[in-house]
Symmetry: C2
Subunit: 562 residues, 2 copies
């Protein structure tokens, strides 16, 4: 194959840079840089950690991509989950490159792009498993079917002059998938024989021994539950899990129940998945939510959202009796066909508790196993590695301990320790047939999205929010006549989130006396520079409030001058 | 037995009021009210939920006890965990009644009372399993051994003229306990034969099928790990789990390792447990933390705190490389012999990740089962119920779903549905041989402790903290000459936790112009009442900021007058 002489790397070397998705579950983005050409794999978002107060979502830092903007040939998407496509509305306006993905992935992306007004400016190209796409002069790109908790998932193979790179993305090996296609063993085996230079493989379940159960097993349990429940079934699952939804449809049909679909994202996905042929609902099955009451209780299934106990979701509203159209009645069976994402355990438990309080029977993972993971367990990770036999392995899609366990598995299979790269976001890795190494690192990390702002909330704002959240704010305001060195108004004290003011009048009065004394003594000494005055107020109030209350609110002196 | 004629309840009736511990795990407190006499069982605290921003702990509302202060005869403690004794320093000054508990329970309580300066004013009475104590004229009180994750735990039996009440408190049936004593089957069987009116029984693990494993099994695993690890062992467990600590001592001894104890609470408990004879450490085993470096790596165990990933704990400091005396070195094996308390999963995971980052091998529950629960699973709850054969059951010590599952188990064993009381804190239950019912409810709920304040943080302060935590605060200050209807200083704008001000100068400038216009137009109209001015500022700024940033900070107008 002929390529131009590349500047940054010689013909037999390729750079791989994870900009997100290692040491974390979320905001997956991997940069493959060969010569003068760059391919980007996935562009996901991450939901904020607890301490990222008020942040709506986190997206990857794309400084590296902006610096090499003219080299970027395309973005390839592996599947339609938020942690793989969710950052696109924020980065496409800055990059404007074609986006490749399978039909359902692009279908879900289009909804997002439409909402952001980007649909008409974006070139979307549909790909199919088995196809080959030539990109630029250096990349031949193929796709192979994978099983995951959303249909139309693929792994991505990049054939370059330096060697073959395989990005498995999220996968499991499901021998009895709902939709009929099995993770493509044959292509993986062929690649293994051909010789894979680098594999980037899913580490999510690297801690779990054995095999992940088949999605079909959930279907069997659903049928049992739908048949035996005496009242209505209310069921929630991830809206994007179309296979699961198909099985809910099947179980409803099997048990002679009508199906009502509720919740914005669920209605959306059911519509698009039906339109694109990924979901098949028999005629006379769907009913409107308003029609539920017309049918006997044991003839109804309501499919809705809220697997994570999110306070505004349909399920939480049902649990708190503030859903607009529905309410829990004592004979209901609520099925939560999902597991809590780490960090959401308490929200989910509270929702379950409140559903029980309203008299429903609740079936959830802890007590029933009514959910299977979309990610392969240890035996599947081993199978993938033994099929591909990569020279170098980058465990991806996992928090640090998952990457470590994935690496330990790989070592047991004979991958050399020095050929396994556990790296942080931003690490620039260079691979050739003879060597793999970390070259350096580039700018990487989380960019916070808060409301309309992208990147305007940083560590200082977060630190303030954390302080405010724990102790509140204590504001001292005064107006000073700077010529006469005299306080003309105030000091007044206003607090929020500190104490209940009506019950703490005496404290506030004492604080005011205290600050007045400090000010008067400063005036007497003719001190008039604001920083000194402010520091004196902060110090004396800080000490006073700590002694009286054992708390350290943010103290904010505001001085006005006439 | 002779008793005075009680006013509120007749001779054959008894009242039971949970003031904490039902519908929640934490702040256990149960009031037993017979005639003119009241016994209180346990007085625990609860750690705050996520949304209780800045709250240090939550204690029960004891309004009912204060209203019946002269009737309270004693507080009985079942064991020394915080959720059973932690509220005492806050309520004893208000009640001043004798406190009964076993030796270790009182030993741990004394440390708390000493810290609060209450030790000399409190009457502490030591009890032993098997003893009987006569309290007032109506109560004969007995105690039976239970297995739990702290030594010297007991269940409490109250024999009253109205019948026998059994409070199991937290328990499991451990056939091979570390300390030799088994949950007292024989006394329980005897009570069952005698006839139990009401049982209050632990629901924590009502969702878990089967039996909880024996503490001894942890000991076996520890020995294996201590023997095979090539470097140092750093191990954390709950400081109060003296049985676990004993097994760590044994495993250290067995594997020829010295033991260094680190962390304030761990050092404290090891000291008191040794002194009271609950922990036996062979001579020449203990070393000082400073001496660790003198021994070969495979001859050392360091026992410390931080099972929950608490940011200030020893383990988190080790993970973040800011421990004062110790640091992780690559050959270390860190053992977390505990499971995360619900809500702490993320903190624990992050600590594990950072320990791996420093090069340690980490052994934790997810991958090893190096922890067993202190609470009985379903088969043990059934055994307890079949031994006691209570007429009435109050499932306690559990969130609502745990209570429900406990009740479902009891129904399967033949306890009548109408005799099982799933109640909320504050429910007043009345029992007699012929009837059990909910009479009414009393004031109950959580009192927040924040710093030195008890009860001065309520829903308004919390709501403010929540708003501040998500969007920050936007303060508009101005000084007005009210006679001349003129702004003499400001408007000035100060924000915290909203945007990074240095990068948002233009936004702040526009906001200032906007608010100036609003004020000028109000002045022109001779509007001078502050509420109107403040509302106008809030409305116009709220709209302006929402349009510009998509955020809704707390807007606080402060007007000064000269």
């Amino acid at each position: 194959m002929q390529t131009k002489e590349p500047k940054e790397s010689s013909l037999d070397k390729i750079l791989i840079i994870p900009l997100g998705g290692v040491g974390e579950i979320g905001k997956n983005m991997f940069v493959i840089h060969y010569g003068q050409e760059i391919i980007v794999l996935d562009a996901g978002l991450m939901f904020p950690e607890d301490e990222m107060l008020g942040v709506d979502m986190v997206i990857p830092d794309i400084t590296y991509l902006l610096e090499h903007k003219n080299k970027i040939k395309a973005i390839f998407l592996s599947h339609g989950h938020e942690d793989h496509i969710g950052a696109l509305p924020y980065i496409l306006p800055k990059l404007n490159v074609p986006v490749y993905g399978t039909r359902l992935t692009l279908g879900l992306l289009k909804i997002k792009l439409e909402e952001s007004g980007l649909l008409h400016d974006t070139i979307l190209k549909e790909i199919k498993a088995g196809e080959e796409v030539q990109i630029g002069s250096s990349f031949k790109i193929n796709f192979f079917v994978t099983n995951h908790s959303i249909p139309d998932s693929v792994g991505i193979v990049l054939k370059t002059p330096a060697g073959i790179i395989v990005y498995t993305s999220d996968f499991k090996f499901d021998h009895t998938p709902v939709h009929g296609e099995i993770t493509d063993f044959h292509t993986l085996a062929e690649l293994g024989r051909e010789g894979v230079l680098v594999a980037l493989s899913d580490s999510t379940n690297a801690e779990r021994p054995g095999y992940t159960h088949s999605e079909k097993e959930v279907g069997e349990k659903l049928k049992e539950i739908f048949l035996s429940a005496e009242g209505r079934i209310i069921i929630v699952t991830f809206a994007s899990n179309v296979h699961r939804i198909q099985q809910i449809v099947n179980a409803a049909s099997f048990s002679g129940r009508k199906l009502a679909v509720d919740g914005w994202s669920m209605v959306n996905v059911v519509e698009i998945a039906q339109k694109l042929g990924y979901l098949h609902i028999p005629p006379n099955t769907l009913i409107d939510v308003d029609e539920v009451k017309k049918f006997p209780q044991n003839r109804v299934v309501i499919l809705t959202t809220g697997t994570q106990g999110e306070p505004m979701s349909a399920l939480a509203r049902l649990a708190n009796a503030n859903h607009r159209k529905l309410e829990i009645i004592p004979n209901d069976t609520v099925v939560i066909a999902a597991s809590p994402i780490p960090g959401n355990e308490k929200l989910v438990s509270r929702t379950i508790d409140n559903l029980f309080r309203r008299g429903a029977e609740v079936i959830y993972e802890n007590i029933s196993g009514i959910h299977v993971s979309g990610h392969g367990s240890q035996e599947e990770l081993k199978l993938m590695l033994n099929l591909l036999r990569p020279k170098y392995l980058i465990p991806v899609h996992g928090e640090y301990r998952h990457l470590i366990h994935h690496a330990q598995l790989a070592e047991k299979l004979g991958v050399k320790k020095e050929n396994i790269f556990i790296v942080e976001n931003g690490s620039m890795l260079e691979f050739s047939a003879s060597q793999g190494r970390v070259l350096s690192s580039v700018s990487a990390g989380g960019i916070f999205v808060d409301g309309l702002g992208v990147g305007d909330v940083g560590s200082i704002v977060l630190r303030d929010r954390q302080l405010l959240s724990k102790e509140g704010i204590f504001i001292v305001v005064m107006t000073i006549d700077n010529k006469e060195k005299r306080i003309v108004a105030g000091p007044d004290i206003v607090s929020r989130g500190f104490v209940y003011v009506k019950e703490s009048e005496q404290l506030m009065e004492e604080a005011k006396e205290n600050v007045t004394k400090v000010l008067e003594s400063l005036m007497l000494k003719k001190v008039s520079d604001w920083p000194t005055i402010k520091n004196s107020i902060r110090d004396s109030m800080g000490k006073f409030l700590w002694e009286k209350t054992g708390r350290k609110p943010m103290i904010l002196p505001v001085i006005m001058e006439i």
